[in-house]
Structure formats: structure tokens, C-alpha cells
Symmetry: C2
Subunit: 743 residues, 2 copies
Amino acid sequence: MENFFNPKSVAVIGVSESPANMAKNIVGNLIEFGFKGIIYQVGKTEGTLFSRKIYRSVLEIEDKIDLAVILTPAAAIPQLMEECGKKNIHNIVIESAGFGEFGEKGKELEKTILKIAKKYNIRFIGPNCIGTMDLASGLATSFVSFKNTFKRDGISIVSQSGGVGFSYITTLASENLGISKFASIGNKLNVNENDLLEYLIDDPETKIICIYLEGISNGRKLLEIAKRSPKPVLVQKANTGSHAKSIAESHTAALSSDDKVVDAALKQSGIARILDRETLVNYLKIMPLPKMRGNKLAIISRSGGHAIIAADVSEQEGFELAALNKNFLHDIEKHLRAKVIRLTNPIDIGDLFDYGVYAEIIEKTLKQPNIDGVVFMHAYFSETEGTPSRVLFNKIKDLSYKYDKPVGICIATDEDEFSRLRKELDYPLFNVPSAVVRALALSRDFYLKRSSVIARSEVTKQSPANNCTQGIATAASRPRNDKTAKILRTCLSQKRNPSFQEGMEIFKAYGIPIVKTIQAKNADEAVRAAAKIGYPVVMKISSQKISHKTDVGGVKLNIKNESQLREEHKAMMKTLFQTPSSLRKQGSRALTRDSRLRGNDNREVIIQPMLKKGWELILGAKQDPNFGPVVLAGLGGIFVEIFKDTTIRVVPIDKDEPAKMLSELKGYAILQGARGDKPYDIKAAEAAISKLARLIADFPEIKEIDINPFYVLHKGGGGFALDARVILFAPRPVKIKIDRKAG
Amino acid sequence: MENFFNPKSVAVIGVSESPANMAKNIVGNLIEFGFKGIIYQVGKTEGTLFSRKIYRSVLEIEDKIDLAVILTPAAAIPQLMEECGKKNIHNIVIESAGFGEFGEKGKELEKTILKIAKKYNIRFIGPNCIGTMDLASGLATSFVSFKNTFKRDGISIVSQSGGVGFSYITTLASENLGISKFASIGNKLNVNENDLLEYLIDDPETKIICIYLEGISNGRKLLEIAKRSPKPVLVQKANTGSHAKSIAESHTAALSSDDKVVDAALKQSGIARILDRETLVNYLKIMPLPKMRGNKLAIISRSGGHAIIAADVSEQEGFELAALNKNFLHDIEKHLRAKVIRLTNPIDIGDLFDYGVYAEIIEKTLKQPNIDGVVFMHAYFSETEGTPSRVLFNKIKDLSYKYDKPVGICIATDEDEFSRLRKELDYPLFNVPSAVVRALALSRDFYLKRSSVIARSEVTKQSPANNCTQGIATAASRPRNDKTAKILRTCLSQKRNPSFQEGMEIFKAYGIPIVKTIQAKNADEAVRAAAKIGYPVVMKISSQKISHKTDVGGVKLNIKNESQLREEHKAMMKTLFQTPSSLRKQGSRALTRDSRLRGNDNREVIIQPMLKKGWELILGAKQDPNFGPVVLAGLGGIFVEIFKDTTIRVVPIDKDEPAKMLSELKGYAILQGARGDKPYDIKAAEAAISKLARLIADFPEIKEIDINPFYVLHKGGGGFALDARVILFAPRPVKIKIDRKAG
């Protein structure tokens, strides 16, 4: 990879003397950025440009070439790559467009160049990109002309989009944040974000890594690399739109859209997700400062209004405005003529015009053990107070590092002063009160999360036997559960998904408690089953095709005796399997829209005991195309339907993760026993989540699992799977869908 | 008010020759801004400054003085105001601090100056402010030195905080947005935001009004003025923190925090709420453009990545990326060498390097009838494409006005180019893709909301008989309900709140359906009551002191016969009135914390019929200290407790407003009949909200009302108040609180 950023020689292919030629901008940029190696120019026609020869082919060049950069029509590229291969060039940047993004013909071309790359052992970036940049080597291969006005420092950028990458660079430049390396990866046919991430983690110049992606090449690998990174990794993942949602066969799939999984996965791996420009800039400004290690903030402001705005945002961000030691302000007051500041946090220093006292207040605040960070808000005009302000800012910088706590400086001043200071001061400056507070919150959240990710990854490194996580080994390292394997084999051979009963058997095999369930083909069998289980019982239709059984009249609760059971059985069969017109009269709207069920179903029901009062959860798992197995939990019924109150993790998960998942739910208070109710058996739900995570990790042939509901009784009573829905990869798609929402 | 901005003569009081003197900055600013009137200087000591005389008192000045600006120690101000009064000065700006914000002594001083102002018919701004500014008259009275680098245009600013006001000005300056007038109102003892809003609405120079507030002086008046404003009014209301929440005696009060009411009130009056700097700038940039009249957006981008980001945000903001007419792009393709753009929205023009075609595409897009607005995203380097880009932007400006649709331009370029263009171009420019899309959404939402507010206010103007709103007249214009008035009179004379029974009677008097309820002092009475009502029945404790009756065991549902009723009555009395230690065993945690209930309560219960399946809503109303009467609705039980799913309006409300309120609830889908359930009687809830709004408006002696629950049956079945809680202003505070949450 080193040759993509620090080659000794570069051949720019596609150059011509024509004024419209774009490839010559690449050479122009290399010259502008002071490239330290040798530049060769290659084009169809011999000629001279930048007082340099244009060769007809790389094969004409005598010296060794470390990197080729190609910008020609797409069709010419296979031949040019062949020549590069013959010339022993192993690194190529292909900037040309016209590949996979332009239909079938382009896709064919992609296959061709991948083949050539394999043949010659070539690694290439692109196609359809604006190349790479390295401020240390002076490499700059964009076909868009750049002026080298960039500050050199430790931020490296990988961007799938050239345009967005370009915006990152200009944003960083305008904030005076220093860049190390840049790579635009375009269609990322060969080199992808993971290759570059690994390289940048090892790159001594890079301190922070920013990645912009529209699609993720290998999510699981991304997570694994990021987890090991000692450097902060920031990812902006666009393309979150609904059109990207996979077609869902289960609740779990419907509830875990691609973007929700992305979000969970990034969090788990300690990656900071960038949602917009403000977040990006806030992260980049705050990360070089000492860490915000806790929740206690002090606000010191020259304007009461700014203090109030900052206090509002502090509350939103969950900061505590800790009380300040009384002696501390007492000390300060000694220096003052009159009592003009009050013992509050925020501290309003608006009536105090002494820069020495400002610094003293900031220092004394930083010294307080119950303060984790400080916001200092300063409003001034450069003309009158520019000089003392700048002295103060430098003093604050020293204090921040001395006490190893962040001080976020937010200034309100004229634009020129702000621009100038941003460039001159080697310390981040904010000019929006909400931004400085949010930046400190990002620091707090990032480092808290990150330290737990790193701590865990340390544990993993030290004990390879206990790989991945406590309690959950990977599929590879653990024997597959025999019973489950057998059931799935049978299903796959019969090209069908597991039945309800088989699903429940799988859960049982994994130690997930299931409710006692007996299948019954007719009323007589139902009566026998109920006698075995004991009244009161619940009767449900056993169809695989109905995901919302309650909605269509397929569930009857609290059946108390045989005669009621017979009556309800008759009624249910009538509701579910009679003609649409009569159904419509009864209001079973959902069913009338699909008549395929009639007569085709096996009409089996299941009998279960009627349980005591409990809460319905939904637990689920699926194989995500990007990140592999994931688990999901939510409060069942209307909570999940209407409030979409769910939580997701990529598997494997830690032992303590199920508890964290449940506590993230908005409705968690219900499980804890809201409004005088007793608490529910949260531990039982946690255990089931852990086991479900094992199951989905062990059997990659399973596409989706729903346990809906997983019914938890009051604390100590346990929890039970009341239903099972297991969907396999491509057995035979279940086509009949009655549900309107999950379908 | 005119003299605060356009006086013919100004006396600056507090000036001295001392270098530390701050008042002389005011004179300096007046000179810097080229004030068109005459400046007089007044100070304790005679002298010369700016080659002008310092008078010892305004009384020494012979000419008429239109405006005095005072910056002296607070204690000197009463005397100075007296002199101003004698000099017939009727407008004063008091910039000095040291008043109400500094304790009791300052508050006394405030009373004194208010008295003097009344005596001499003086209107004053401040104290504790940085004065006023008017770019037309050249008035600039801040004691902070300003450079006059501001663009003059139609944005006027009123700010309670000097520092925040100053930030507004610098923000506008950096965005090259033009200012008309500015007023910092500080403690707003005399002139407040409403006075200035009225003035600015009539001011021909002002086109847009921005107000920053930490406290609202008279919310109801603010709404009335804003509703009539033909100009956009933007309000940033800070100080939203939890410490500002009023102490709540009812659910309604607990659920309608000050800030929630502010939010509802501002929306109702067509005021745009500013939440942060980005929103402010987005509004100010987008408002001068043609309005976004609908939901259909087209995105045209030179960078695929920016197009994707903009599309993501468009989806979040509820825009539809409408399909474009096929002929349209067919037309365009004729001009092109190769087929390099596809028939999609976003349109990616990245491979098209022809500025003429860009303009043509934008024009043809604007022509499409199914497009309401366009986002144009342009990435370029000034050096290479600066000139054609600027020509294009001017062309876009013309097209936007020609087709009367907004085109949001977002550029990615070097910082200097962006800075320069912002200053040179008379059209707003964005540089963040999310911001341009959000700005168009603000335009759409603002004008949609605003047009309905204006339409309604037109109706009101035309038919004064039908004042305020259809269906709900104000208290003043309508006779008070006799029965309610009588109940409240009795309660007030007995210094108590209405009982449950009285509350229900009030509801009945207002046409809010109530469930049949009989009060019973003991088990025998309860049995008689149940016989009258008919089994099954519900029994509830009748205490005024318990707001969550279910939580403490004070509600028993579905009692089927006399023997069960007697049994349950006994059990309930035991649970509620026995000793804490035995209660603890039974798990009634809430009750054990307050033993005052024991023995003191009248032990009455109420008997109601057991209703059919329905949903619980909570309806409520209260007198808000800022905005007067408000109504509230939410889904009851855990929904309101855990999800805080409520909606609020300031009364009076329109006929169609209750329906809108309910449809705003996250759980609205439940009322519509989620998951196969039948729809509930939404109309019944709407009617009750209307009537509750009348009730709270008619009786300002009522502080808070809870109807919790208002129980709605399935559609057509109606809805009923099952409980009543009416709290009056200061009858005798109800001290005993058992509830942990609403308390």
C-alpha cells in the first residue's frame, strides 16, 4: 500500500498536449505539491508537456515505476494495465469513469481488469475516483487542479466519493485542521476501505482516520479492524434511504433496516459515526484535546445569554453542571473591587474586565476534582480586545494540557478575527455555543465507549482460548448443536423452512425456554392436548404463513374448558378458512386480501397453557449481508409496531451486552415495574438473547429468526418463547403473506 | 418607539475623559456609523471628548433631545432620569447593569426608575443591555466598540442578551445577510419584545424579525401580535432547562413543561422557532427566495456523493424526489456527445462539463409542474472554474425568480472562494448538503403553517362576531356556565379544590360525557350503588390525594357480584388504610412512604360500570403563566408515563385543531385500529378536547384539570371521563402527594 502514497516514481497515463486533456492536471498537482519522486508522462501521442517528454507507453520508460495513475477512456484501460503488468508496476490508481456505474458493458470491463490485476499481481484503487494525496511525500494525483494550501498534520481521509472527499478536505482546510493522507476509492473494485484502514492504523503519520462510505465492502472485517485500532476511526455512512432496505420476511428483518445495523455495528466497534459536517468538525477539533473523562462540566461565560444557551445544551447532552467549591470563588473575590460574580455554574464573568482573573478562574475551576471539563465562552471585538484575548487563549491551552482536562473555547467575535485566529492558534476554537458543548459530549461518549471496546479487545488478545467473547464462541471454534443441525438438514433437503414445532425444538436445544406446546390436527386432538396441559389454555393457528396471528383471528386466549375449546376451534376454522365475502362481514380485513390461504393450509392448531400476567418481548436474529449475524430485542406488540422500540447488536456479543440492550429500550421502565407493577424477569430475557446470539452465529444457513413473543413473567417467574419462526436461506421462498406490515 | 432608532438628537450620559470610561464608546460608535442627528455628551465632570463639549447635565443642553443613552453606575440613574424627565426626554436606553439581576437592592432600584418613568411618561429600554442600532439612521449605541462593516438590508433583531445579540449580528455579517435594526433589551423593565415586535411589523425597512428571549414577558400578547404579522417572525427561546419547570400538582402540569407550551404556542402563531445557529442562518437565507410550495424536490449534483447525502436528508425531511419527465432529459441528451446522464432524481451531472447544459437542465427542471424546488450542488475549484461558476449562479438566481420556485445552491469549493462569493453574490449560498435541504424544508413548513395561520386570522378579522375561533369564544364574550361557577364559588369559599363528584359535574355541564358514578361511604352503600348501576362494576377509592390510584391498590376492575364487591371493598380499605409495615409486606411501595393518609381520609369509594374494551386517553388543561389557558391530550397509562406522548395547544383552538392534536400523537395508529383492532372513537375524544378548551378559557380561577382517563370505546361507542381532578388557584394547596412521578 505504501506505493499508493509514497512512491519513488509515478507514471501518469493519459496525458496529451491538448488543452482539454484532464490527465495533465494530475501532473500539475504533483508539481504544485512538490512531489519528491520522479514523474513520467504517458499518452497516445508523443509530445512535450511541463518541459517533460510524453512517452507512448510505460514500456518505453527505462526506470522502475512504483505507481501508475490512469485517466483515459474506460475502454483503453485493459490494454494499459497489461502494459503496466509487463512493466512490473504493482500499484495503479484508475481515475476513469465508465465502469460498473454505467451498466452491463461497464461491469464486463470490471471483470476484465480484475482478471488482469490478478494475473500481474497488481493492486489498484478505483476506478471512478480522484486518486490519492499525501502531504509528506507531495503526492497529489487528483485530476482536479488543487492549490497546495493545506496544513499538514495527522488526519487521514478515505472517501468513496470524490466530491465528498473534496468537501472533507476543504472543510478541514477552512477549520485549519491538518491533513496527512487522502484516498478517493470510487468503485473500490480492488482496494477497499478495509485495506486502507489497516494501512492507516499502522501509518506513523496518521493520528485520526475519517472514512466516507456509501456502501460497506465487508462490514465484519471493518469492525474487526476498527476494534483493534488504537487511533480514533470516524465513519460517515450515507445512503441510508429506505430504498436500501432489504425485503423482509420476518419482524426481525423488517425492524433491523440496514442503517440500524450499521449504527449498532459502528458503536460496537468503537467507531464514531459522523452524521453531518458539524459532528465531523466537532470530533476533529475535540479529539486532540485531553479527554472528557466524566460528566461534570463547568461553564464560564462573559455573556449571560451564551451561558444560558450552553446550559440548555448541556442538559440535553446529559452533562451535570457541578457545584463549585465555595472557597474557590471566595479566593477570587479577594482580587475584585466589588462582588460582581456569583457562586453559580455557569459562572457569569460579564461584569469582570480583567483577563488575569479570567485565567485564574479557569485554572481554579480545572483544579476542582469534581470538574471533568470546562466551556469558556468569550465575546469580544478584535479591535479593542484582540491582543489580551489571544494571550488568554494560549494560556488556556497550557492550562488544559497541564490539568489534563479539556477546555472548549467558544468565541463570539468578528469574522476576520475568527478566521485569523483559527489559522494562528494551535488550539481548536468554536464559535457556536451548542457546538462546543456537543463536542465535549462527543469526547466523553467516544472515549467512554472506546475504552470499553479496547479493554475488551485486550482481554481477547490475552486469552485466545476464550476467543471473541465470554460465553459465546464463534461457530468455527465450537461444535454445532446436533439436534439443530439435523432439523435444518431435513428442512433444506425438503426445500422448506422449519415448522413452528421444529423452531421450538431448536430453541429448546439452545436452552431458550419454550412454553409447553402440543400440536393438534382437529378439535378432538385439541381437546386431548388441553387435557394434558391443563385448563385454561391458549389455542393458536399453526400456520407458517401468518405472522400476525392475532390480527386475523388466529389466537384465542384463556379457554377454560372442553366445550369452550370445541366452540372456539370451530369458530377459528370458520374465520380462517371460509370464503372472503363472509369474512368481510366479520371484519377480518387482513385475511380477505389473500384468498390463497383457503383450503391450502393444514388447519393445525397448537395448544399452550394460559400463562400468568407477563409482558411480551420480541427477540430476533438475522444474517445481515454486511455485518453477518445480528440479534435484536424489543418490547412486543404495539410497542414494536408503533414505536419501533428496538435494539440491535452484531454477534458475537459480550456477556453483559443483553442487559445493556434491554436497558436501551424506551419502554425499559415497564420491565422494571412501572406504575406500581412488579418488575418482570429481565434476567430471563437476557439469557434468551445470549442464546439466540449463539444460535444465529452457529448456523449461517439461518436467514432470520423471530421469537415473537418471548413472554416474561414477573421477576423470578422466567420467560418463554410462545412462538417460533425460523427462515432459512433459499429453501423455497414462503410466498404467501397476509400481514400488511412485516411483509 | 421611532426615537429609539431614528432620533434627531442623542444625549450620551456617563461620558468622561478617563481612558477607562465606557460610555465614550457609545459616542465612538455613533460617529463610526455616521449618525445623521446631533450627538450631545453628558458626564459628571465638564470636559472635551471627540472635539465636543461634555455637559454636566441634560438640563444644560439647549436643544431638544429625542433619545438619552445612559451608562453610569446604577445608583446614579434615578437622579439622571429625573433630569431627563424634566428635559422632556421621552426615550431612554439604560445600559448600566446592577439592577434586578443583583438581588434585592437592585430590585428596589427597578421600582424607583419605573416610578420615575411613569411620572414623566418615559419609555426606556434596558437596563443591563447594549442598546440599539439602526443602519439607516446611523444610530449605534452599544458601549462595545463596533466597526461598521455591516450590510444594510431587511433583517431586524431584538435580543434579551447583549452577547447573543452580538453573535446574531456577527453571524449575519459573516453570511453577508443585511441588517436593518437591532435592539438589546436586557432586563426589559419597560420596553419589551412585544413593543418592539409591533414596531418592527410596521417598520417599512424591516422584512424579517428575529427575536432572542430567555423569558417571555407576555406570551399571549406575543402570539396575538405574531399572528397578525405579514412578515416572518423568528424566535429563539433559551432557558429551556428542567429547573424552569413549574411545580406540578397534576399530570397535565407535569406533562406540559414550560418549554413544551412555548413550542406549541410559537407553532400556533406561525412563529418559526430557532433552535440553533444553523436553523437561524438557514431561515434567513431561504426566506427571501421564492417559497417552497410543496413537497417535490429535484436534486441536481455534480458529485454523486453529495447527491446521495442530499437524498438521505431529503428523505428525513419528508421530501419526495419526484420522477422527471422523460422527454425532458431526452431533449438534453440531444446536446451531448455521449449518454452520460441517467433519467433519475437525483440527477448526477458529474460527467458533463458544460455550464450551458447545467443551466438548461436547471431551467427544464424548474419548468416541470411536479417539481416545487431544486437543490443544485456544485463542486469546483475557483482557480479553474471560478468564472463560469459565477455566471451560472447569477443565471440560477434569475431562473429561480422567473419560475417562482426556490433553487438552493450548495457549493464545495475553497474557503476563500466561498467567502468572496457570499459577499459578492446577491443570492444565498450553502456549503453543507444537509443544510440546503433542511433550509428548503424550513421554507416549506414555515409557509404552509404560516398561510394557515394567516388564513385563519383573516377569517377572524372579517367576522368579529365569530371572534377568536369557530366554536370557542373567549371567556369575556360568553356567559359563564352557571353550574360550574356555583361549584367553584363554593370550593373557593371553603378553600378547597372541587371533589371528584364536583369535577364530574363540571365536565357534564360542559358536555363532556362522564361515566355513571355513584359515591359510597361504606360497603353497604357500595352494594346499593352497584345494584343501581348493574354488575359488573368498577370500584375506586375517591381520594383527592391520590393521583395514581391503580398504583396504590385503589382501583378494582370487573367486580361481578355483591359478595365479590364486599370482599374487594374490605381488601381495598385494608390495603389503603392499614399500617405501613404490613403494607410493605404486600408490596404497596408507594403508599408506605406517606402515612398521613391513614385515618385521615373519608374512605369513600366510587362505583362505576365496567366498560367494554376501549383505550385510555389523558386529556388535560391548565393556565400557563406565560400563555394562559392550554389544553393537552395524550395516550393514557404507560404511554404518557413512559413515552411522554402528548400534544399541547394554547386555547382558543380552531374547530379542526383537536383532530390535528390527536393525529400528532406517536400512538395515533392505535386509535385508528392497529394490528387488526377496530378503530376507536376518535371523534368523541376530539369533542371532549374542544369542550375542555372552552372550560379552561371560561374559568381563569381553574389552575389545572386532569381527565385521566378519558376512556374511548370503539368507533361509534363514544368516550367517557372516568375520573376528574380540578385544581384551583390558591384555594388551599393540596399537600399530601402519594404519587412519585406526577408529584
